[in-house]
Every structure is written in C-alpha cells, then in structure tokens.
C-alpha cells in the first residue's frame, strides 16, 4: 500500500506534469531544430512566435465563445488553433520576405542571422503585447479533469490523489498526432524529402533542381504551425503570459541541443529529457521517501532546487551537453 501510494505520488507530481510539459517542449524544439537544419541558424524569435500564435488563437477563441461555438468537453482553443496557425504562418513568411531573405541573398554567416532573429524577437515581442497585453490569461474551457483527485481516492482507497487534467491529455494526444504528421511528411512526400535533402547537402540539392525558395517557405509554415500548437498547448495546460513564452526559449533550445540540433527525433527526446529533469529536480521528494522508507522522517523537503530555479536545470544540462557531447544525443550538427 505504501509502495502504491509512493507510485501514485510520483505519477501525480512528476510523471504526468513532466509528460505534458515534455510534449510542449518537444514541439517547440522541433520548430527550432527544423529552422536550424534547413535555414541554418538558431532562431531566437521562436519563443515569441509561440507567444504571437497563442495570442491570435486566444483572440479567435474569445470570438468563437462570443458566438457560442464550442467543442463541448474539449477546449474551444482547439477550434481556434488553425486560425492561429494561418495568421502566424503569414506573419513569419512576411518576416522572411522583409528581413531574412536579404541575409540569405548576401550569404551572411549563421551567427549574423541569429542576431537578426534577436531583432525579430523584440519586434514580435512588442507586437504580441500590443495585441493581447502583458497579463496572465486563462483560456481553457470545457471539462477540467479526466481523472479527478477525489474520485481517484474513493475509487482506489489510496491516500494519495491522482489527477489528470483534460489539457494534459490533449497536449500529449495533439503532440503525438503533430509529430506523426511531421515525420510522415518528411519521410514520404516529395516536398518533405526535398527539405531533408536541402538540410543534408544544400549545394547538391540545388544541383538536383530543388527550389530553395519553396523549401524555405514550407519550413517557415511548418515552424509556425509547430510554434503555435506548442504555445497553445502550453497556455491551455498552464496559462498564457507573453513573458513566460520568452523564458521558454531556454528549455526549448536546451531540448533541441540535447537531442542534437537539426535532428527531429533528437528534439523530441530532448524535450522529455529537459522536462523530466526540471520537474524531477524541483519536486520535493519528502512524501515519496516517507512512503518508501519506513520509520524515517526526512529533515528537509528533499527538494534539490526550489522551483524558482527551474531554468537553472535546463541551463546546466545545456552546458554539460555542449562540453561533453556538442552534437547531442542523436548526432545532430555541432553548434
């Protein structure tokens, strides 16, 4: 019984939240890694692209709610998501046309493109705040829980509750579908293959007659879709606040680099590595230890780091990976 209680506590406070968070990071890191693999620079504007896309999705959600259109037990935001993606894709394509295309034409160094993306980040940052403000916004509606804490306790007779929120399940399901669609696209379609070819060997891709403008445009559209989806899922699961999305940039980059920049599979693995480390390190293990080790009362909370320092976890992992395995777990390009 004690063992089961410990297990449920770990599930409830570590596994479930970290899985949802990991799926969100994985989607974000996929966007970063695609841009890195194909356009060959680290896109610092990705976090704010997520914020912008989520902002648009929220506005459309409000509109749909005002019209009385909903999805029943599911959040209305899922219905608004395609609109968010379309408008975000239009924005990044316009940005590419106005800003990035020039630097590609003069064949600038990747580090300059990265700095350019910092500029784009600030503009998007301001745009998002003008649009939707700086406050925290809750926009999840519909059924709140799939497994409610009290119901779980009565059903199992355990002391520990387990709650799984609808948004957490949606996050994992949607992320799974998106990843499947992306991999199918990259592996099976002509355009997807040409993107991989372009990422592998740009000169040979050009010699083979692959149109670079087409590859670049499709990459941006996919990156916008991934960013908006990741941002919306994160916002549904927690809440929307423009500044938080800017801060998400660190764990997202850490995830992409841990997995190996340019490697989509690595981005997914990296997302979960970062999420589980962050949640695991900042969780107070006292309760679990009390269940597992009889007749022992821990003195502290058995918490390695307080939650305020959660970004230090991604930062530390990032440094360790860059020092000892710069190409990441899945052999990406070295930074």
């Amino acid at each position: 019984m004690e063992f089961l209680n410990a297990l449920v506590a770990i599930l409830n406070y570590v596994v479930v939240p970290a899985t949802a968070y990991g799926a969100q990071l994985a989607l974000g890191a996929l966007g970063v890694t695609l841009i890195y693999g194909i356009l060959r620079f680290s896109n610092f504007a990705h976090g704010d692209t997520m914020a912008f896309g989520t902002g648009i999705t929220i506005i459309v959600t409000w509109g749909l709610q005002a019209l009385g259109i909903g999805l029943g037990p599911l959040p209305t935001a899922l219905l608004a998501l395609p609109f968010g993606i379309a408008i975000t894709a239009a924005l990044v394509l316009a940005t590419d046309r106005v800003v990035y295309s020039y630097y590609r034409k003069v064949k600038t160094a990747p580090v300059i493109l990265t700095m350019v993306s910092v500029g784009v980040m600030f503009v998007m940052n301001g745009l998002t705040r003008l649009l939707i403000g700086v406050d925290e916004i809750q926009f999840a509606d519909g059924e709140r829980f799939v497994v409610a804490a009290r119901a779980f306790k009565t059903a199992t007779g355990l002391d520990e509750p387990l709650s799984i929120r609808t948004t957490q399940v949606i996050t994992v399901v949607v992320a799974g579908l998106v990843v499947w669609a992306l991999f199918w696209f990259l592996a099976r379609t002509r355009t997807g293959k040409s993107m991989r070819a372009f990422s592998d060997n740009e000169d040979l891709a050009l010699l083979s007659g692959i149109n670079p403008n087409h590859v670049v445009a499709v990459t941006w559209i996919i990156a916008a879709a991934l960013a908006t989806t990741a941002g919306t899922l994160y916002g549904l699961d927690k809440s929307f606040k423009a500044f938080n999305y800017f801060q998400l940039l660190l764990p997202i980059f850490a995830a992409a680099i841990v997995g190996g920049l340019g490697n989509p599979l690595g981005a997914i693995a990296g997302g979960f590595v970062i999420a589980f480390s962050e949640v695991g390190v900042t969780y107070a293990w006292k309760k679990v230890a009390t269940y597992l080790i009889p007749n022992w009362e821990a003195e502290g909370l058995l918490q390695l780091l307080s939650t305020e320092y959660k970004f230090a976890v991604s930062f530390a992992i990032l440094i360790i990976v860059l020092l000892f395995k710069p190409t990441g777990l899945f052999k990406g390009k070295s930074v």
Partner: protein
C-alpha cells in the same frame, strides 16, 4: 561539331585567371579525360563547363546550343549531369531517396531509370534502404554517379570519381563508366590516376597552368614519350 564544345575558356574565381584559353571537347558516347599536375586547373575547367565559374572569355556549346550564360541548374535541365568530388551524396537519406532526389526535376515516371541504375550498380539495389552516409567510399561514389544519371543526362561530368577508393574499386568504377558511355552518354572526367584513366579515354587532355598542353587520343598520349616522362612517371 563535337557534342560538348567548350572553347578558349578563360576565367577564375577572383581577379586572377586560372584558365587561360582552355579547350575541352567531347564526342557523343565517348570518354574524355582531363589529367595534369596539381593546381593545373583541372577541376576548375570542369566547373567552368558546368557553369559554376564565370568565364571572361570563350564559350560552352552543348549539342550545338550555346549555354555559356546558363546557371548550373539550367544546364542540368539541358542534359548535363555533374558528380562533385566531395559531398556528392545526401548522407542521412537512403540510397533510394538519393536517386529520387536526382530525379527531382523530372515529371515523368523515373522508375525505369532507377532500375537501370540498379542494374548498373547492383550493390545499390541491395543497400537501397540504407543511408548513403553509412556506405563505403566506393559505394558512395556509385550512389553519386547514380544520382547524376537519374536526370538521364547526355553529358556526365565526373570530378575525380576514384579519389580515395582502393585500386580494385577503381577498376570496377572505370568499367561502369565505360558501360555508361556505351549507352550513348558522353563523359568528361577529371582524374588523378592518369594512367588508368587514359587507358579508357577516347580523348585525353593534359592541362598545365590552365591551358591545353597536350591533346590527343588516350592511346596516343600514353604512347607519347614526352607525356609519359613528364606526367605519367616514365
């Protein structure tokens, strides 16, 4: 008129010229080989034919058509195939996907061409689901040549196809190149292994400092005591 006629090519990458009135001609279905000492401009001459280098003088004619002003991509559409010396495959893509990418500009069914490539290089059929980056050097060269053949080129250009492969693999590659030429494809090739290359060459060019030093049939160059002494090591 020759199938490929690149005459009096003059030009270089920066201000200084590397090619000084270099002329290369290939007849239909024949093999032309460019040999010469290091730094003679062999690869540069090849790149000039393919349009990767701006020419200050001279012209390039393919099948009677002046293509001097065309980009490399447009030359591929006109029937040129180019196999670079290095980085000539997509390493994280399978052999089959490499061939598919070679056929990217084709809108018709390219399966028969792929079958022909597999018949020419049977090992590629066995390894078609393996990533090109995991293959041996010789196999990777076969992928590179196969990829270039997928557009059904009329002129195939090979920049040191046997660089870094064992002598046995080199012989095998040369045999395959002869087979390709027999199907009516003209071949222009830069080679370090001058002796072996001239043996299979219908036409040989010895370049020195960006200009033609000796031009003759492969056999005649092999027989020329002057060429043997200076370039073939006796």
């Amino acid at each position: 008129m020759s199938f490929l006629d690149a005459s009096d090519m003059t030009g270089g990458y920066g201000a200084a010229d590397i090619l000084h009135g270099c002329t290369l001609k290939v007849e239909k279905g024949q093999i032309a080989v460019i040999v010469g000492p290091n730094g003679a401009g062999k690869s540069t001459a090849m790149k000039a034919v393919f349009g990767m280098l701006k020419l200050r003088g001279g012209h390039v004619m393919l099948d009677g058509e002046d293509i001097t002003a065309l980009s490399p991509q447009d030359r591929v559409r006109k029937g040129m195939g180019f196999v670079p010396q290095v980085n000539n495959v997509f390493p994280t893509m399978s052999v089959e996907e490499n061939l598919e990418m070679g056929a990217f500009i084709r809108t018709d069914n390219f399966r028969p061409t792929m079958e022909q490539v597999y018949d020419l290089f049977p090992i590629l059929r066995d390894k078609r689901h393996q990533n090109a980056g995991e293959l041996s050097g010789g196999q990777r060269q076969q992928v590179a040549v196969g990829r270039a053949l997928m557009t059904q080129p009329k002129l195939l250009m090979l920049d040191e196809p046997t660089a870094g492969v064992s002598p046995i693999v080199m012989d095998e590659l040369f045999d395959r190149i002869i087979e390709v030429a027999r199907t009516g494809i003209s071949i222009l090739m830069v080679e370090q292994n001058a002796r072996q290359a001239l043996e299979i060459a219908d036409q040989g060019y010895v370049l020195v400092q960006g200009a033609n030093k000796y031009t003759d049939t492969g056999a005649a160059l092999m027989a020329d005591p002057e060429v043997r002494r200076t370039f073939l090591g006796g």
